[in-house]
């Protein structure tokens, strides 16, 4: 079934697209002339098909998060273009950006840091609605409760604060917040890493359900190729700021062209076998 879908996606025009995107960080240490130059993105070309799940994989420091932030309009690239729904958006005015933002949402890796510890769950979920003036007053609260229910959290917990939730529940909160504005495109930056395996699975299932319900497009960023292998439609591999391989999941897995992809795949297999041995030994 998945294969057909992949083929169907390939025919449609991309929902989001990066062309020639580059970003360089220069940092200066005090008391020295030395400055560090980090090329986070180098001429990145990247397509995301609508209603698909694209996985972006790479080691830490390979530029994944920078790319995500650029696509989410949270950071400006030095050069290059970003297309969304057929429009070039990287040089949008503040006004255009405001209209655009609700369509692109991001879920961060560190849910504890991404949720204001002083807010209640309901306040957190309601924040985007409040910012965008979608709802107000009592409606705001009831909408937040609906969203909580949708991501599988009890509305009774609406007055709790983020630190009173478990990691997985916090991630659900973050997701609820992200879908509050009914976005078209959701960027998930390492959103499930750091959780235990069963929670990971629950969250992924939630994401897939939501995708079905709202026909969302996902960009799932992960350093874990194994996880991605189970659910992604497309896979892109990043190394040192470049996209080194990109294509439908099957193709990439079956026939990796770039040696970095092969290395990543090899480490996944090794890890799996180790894990199995460990499980077997444990028993």
């Amino acid at each position: 079934m998945r294969i057909e879908e992949t083929a169907r996606h390939a025919l449609k025009p991309a929902l989001a697209k990066a062309a020639g995107l580059s970003k360089r960080y220069v940092q200066r240490a005090p008391f020295s002339y030395k400055s560090f130059v980090i090329d986070a993105l180098v001429d990145v070309e990247f397509d995301i098909a609508p209603a698909s799940l694209t996985a972006l994989v790479g080691e830490s420091g390979s530029g994944k998060s920078t790319l995500a932030r650029c696509l989410a309009m949270l950071e400006k690239a030095d050069r290059g273009e970003i297309w969304f729904e057929g429009k070039e958006v990287s040089r949008s005015s503040d006004r255009e950006l405001k209209a655009l933002r609700p369509k692109i949402q991001m879920v961060f890796q560190d849910s504890a840091g991404a949720l204001n510890p002083g807010f209640t769950a309901a306040q957190i979920i309601a924040e985007p609605l409040e910012v965008q003036r979608r709802e107000s007053g009592a409606r705001l609260h009831s909408r937040a409760c609906e969203l909580m229910e949708e991501v599988g959290l009890s509305p009774n917990w609406a007055d709790r604060r983020p630190l009173e939730f478990s990691g997985g529940q916090r991630q659900r909160l973050a997701i609820a917040r992200a879908i509050a504005l009914k976005p078209a495109f959701l960027i998930l930056d390492e959103s499930v890493s750091g959780l235990d395996l069963s929670t990971q699975a629950q969250i992924l299932n939630l994401l897939l359900d939501l995708q079905k319900a709202h026909s969302l497009t996902y960009l799932l960023i992960s350093h874990d190729l194994g996880l991605v292998g189970q659910i992604a439609d497309f896979v892109a591999v990043m190394q040192q700021g470049k996209i080194v391989e990109q294509g439908p999941r099957r193709e990439v897995f079956a026939n990796p062209r770039h040696h970095h992809t092969r290395e990543l795949l090899a480490s996944v297999r090794l890890l799996r076998s180790n894990f199995r041995t460990a499980q077997a030994g444990g028993r």
Binding site: M73, P102, M106, G113, A114, N116, L163
Partner: protein, 343 residues
Amino acid sequence: MRKKQKIVAALMLLVALHLAILLAGFIAPYNPATQNRDFPFVPPTRFHFADARGHFHLRPFIYQWTVRPEGFNEYEEARGREYPVQFFVRGPEYTIAGLVRSDVHLFGVEGPARIFLAGSDGFGRDQFSRIMYGGQISLAAGLLATGISLFLGLLVGCISGFYGSWIDESAMRLVELFLVLPWLYLLLAVRSFLPLHISPTQTFFLLVAVIGTIGWARPARLVRGIVLSAKGRKYVTASRGFGATDSYILRRHVLPHTYGVLLTQAALLVPQYIVAEVTLSFLGLGVSEPVSSWGNLLANLQQYNVLASYWWMFAPALALVIISLGYLKVANAIHERLQSDSI
């Protein structure tokens, strides 16, 4: 819940203190400006229960002070006649908050004796009454100056921490500039531009406003540091992702973090500004006679002979300690509450 009780208790204490000072006219037995030229620097009146004949009195009484024949400003009790302490007695007229006129005082004694709860000053004025009345001016001034400093500090600190780059650079240079300049001259200049017929109290409040304005630099620098770290948080980035404006982010995500610093600062600044009046009066810019304030009462202590001879002249410092401990308690309690909310 215990925390809430703490705040309530601290607040009640503070409110009680302020209320007492507001009701100075009722609580103070005398008019703070009345001079008793025969009794400069008398020590605090002693309360007695047993008289010279060994009889015990349920109601405390006092003896009148008389000047000891040898020595200047040395007093002894005139044991000849007892003056029982009375409550709700009639005395000099006063008004409370400019509204209520009365002449009933909480306590007092029959004339010609005088009750000096905290001794008298160099003009024989009752120091306790001066402290009570002085608190009205000093607290108002301290709170006013603190409010101005914190408001300006918050404004500049937020803007410079949040927007960074050249705004930040120039704001921080301005802070340094403000920290080193000889403000003495500014104050003198301001005084010289004021006409003489402005009432001394008005002049004082104006100058308090000036020192409050000068004092923005330190809170600004501290606030900036907090803002700088708060704006780097992930949830701020997330909020931007929803399309939140700068002012929304400042209001909802950044400002709440500065409350802790602001409270600590406030608890520090109020007593500091009250004491700052001592320096002001050194330049002739303080509250002038015969009006009393904690600042000019404390300024008496700057004379070595007063400090070395008349220990009761430290009483205004004690009053200030009590009030500033009250502020500190409230600030701490609120701070604790904020923290427990945010973690």
